[in-house]
Assembly symmetry: C2
Homo-oligomer: 330 residues x 2
């Protein structure tokens, strides 16, 4: 099959072996896939992944032991877990130490014609939800993880730091709480989107120029800049005893002022993959704008160009069109 | 009065002006004071403090507008707050942005013959509690702040990292929960104290040699090493979705792996000053051993030597004897 493969280099391979579903797994024909910053970090060497990239997708079940599943349009959770270890049995499946992760660790991903996932990872897509929206389920679930981990009070002053594609999804999820929310970003065009959604914004082109009225005044800061410098900015904004939710992953370390964390008794919460069900409910309600985040579409044959495009400053979501939406099972 | 003063240098001054109580403040005759690592960090330039050092003390009220207070033996909370700002009104007094801090920021401390504090900062010492124990109220309150901020479950695997004087107090407070507690430290003699208290210990002389059975297995890690390297160790011990309580403050920054915090969804909790009332209740119950932590005593006239002693590796608490215990009010 055709697939975008990362090994010593990143290359498009037209005869990559199609995956074979193991017991309890579904073979899924990829319809669309989304490019995430994590994909770009993986190409830069983060995590040492080798294989087919891609973890955001919508697809059709092509093979499954239960015929009811065949032909269903699905999205899929990305952590493949053992289900048997203490971590899984404690309900922390996404942290299973034996896990592989679709397109990120030990399991080929969605930037190919087919992928396999266990049945328990699959979520049927509501029939009226377009592919272009369904493909955002995984990153929107990651945004919901914030509400899963931190209690955002309706009266809280909240700042979302970073106007990238994850930031703009997190902002829309945070806005559900009707908290007092402001997005701080560096790109006027992206912030304009948030303004259209009724979310307050502040354009802060340089790190130094944080709005003085927000410094040390924010109850909850969500750090989505994707860069190490975001941590310092977030720490300057959060009030003593406030909460700082960290969503950024990157290759490398942060030079962090942990003494300030102690003196101001800040709570830091690392936040990664989240629940698919509320993400699908929100998408299906139509009360979230994901389509405006789509900046470009490429066929899988142009996947290399698509990744280059995604890496350009100011770009939001780039999609790969892999297959047409149609039941191919018969 | 005689006082240990930090300005351009650290020096003993015998004609330092005695403090004058402002409205609502008490003049307190210091009986004993304890030397904390923060005092040593202040001497190294942390925080830029100038004035009389010292924030751990027990003393006698010598002057007070209400005669009932005069002659009472007291300990005192160290944050002098405005009581009027949003932070104070929200109940976060210890984070008042207008605060001064006894012997740490803008307010002369306890390494002198007298100090002043507002009445609301004072806690009478139970009559049977010896001065040698009462002088530990402030650091023991800081240990209680851990239980104030984090829910330690009785079934939790907890590691206290660091066998210094604050670590050994925190360990005794954590042990109250009957959680599954282990202290990891570098000093056999200090760990032996913990063993005497019935707390499990692991001697780990070098940072690299963390016990393999604890790595990524600990529900709650409390970092009390007082050094930037402690953060990395703590992060290696804590399980995914676990909690890391930070107690160490030091001059400088930490090179921190914040991506690991995100991927493992760790919660970090900065923890500083704590509640005096439970500390006094615990001291008064006799169910905590603070006297074994006293390694040396010096008269205030030898305060410079006392600080040198406190800075020597392996030293636990060094006390300054300032005045005899007796009501001097009459």
């Amino acid at each position: 099959m055709l697939a975008l493969v990362l090994d010593d280099e990143l290359r498009l391979v037209d005869d990559y072996p199609a995956p074979t579903p193991a017991h309890g797994q579904a073979l899924i024909r990829v319809i669309k896939a989304g490019i995430c910053n994590t994909d770009l970090e993986l190409v830069r060497g983060y995590h040492g992944f080798q294989g087919v990239l891609g973890h955001e997708f919508v697809g059709l079940v092509e093979q499954h032991p239960d015929p009811d599943w065949v032909g269903r349009r699905v999205v899929g959770e990305i952590n493949l877990t053992c289900g048997e270890c203490d971590t899984c049995l404690a309900g922390r499946h996404t942290h299973c130490p034996h896990r592989t992760v679709l397109g990120i660790a030990g399991h080929d991903g969605a930037f190919g014609e087919y992928l396999v996932l266990p049945t328990e990872n699959l979520h049927p897509v509501p029939p009226d939800l377009p592919d272009d929206a369904a493909v955002f389920t995984e990153p929107l679930a990651a945004a919901f993880e914030i509400l899963q981990q931190a209690h955002i009070h309706p009266t809280d002053r909240v700042v979302l730091l970073g106007d990238g594609k994850l930031g703009l999804l997190c902002a829309q999820v945070l806005a559900l709480t009707r908290c007092n929310l402001t997005i701080i970003g560096r790109h006027a065009a992206k912030l304009q989107l948030a303004e259209q959604w009724g979310i307050a914004t502040r354009l802060v082109p340089a790190e130094e120029d944080l709005p003085a009225d927000l410094v040390r005044e924010v109850d909850v800061v969500v750090e989505c800049t994707g860069s190490p410098a975001g941590f310092d900015q977030a720490l300057r904004l959060v009030r003593p005893r406030g909460t700082l939710v960290l969503k950024s992953t990157y290759h490398g370390r942060t030079h962090a002022d942990m003494t300030a964390v102690v003196v101001d008794e800040i709570t830091l919460v690392g936040s990664r993959c989240g629940p698919f069900a509320p993400a699908l409910r929100l998408l299906n309600s139509g009360k979230v704008d994901v389509l405006s985040l789509i900046h470009a579409r490429y066929p899988l044959t142009d996947a290399l160009e698509a990744l280059e495009h995604a890496a350009r400053g100011g770009t939001l979501k780039v999609l790969l069109d892999v297959h047409e939406t149609r039941t191919s099972g018969g």
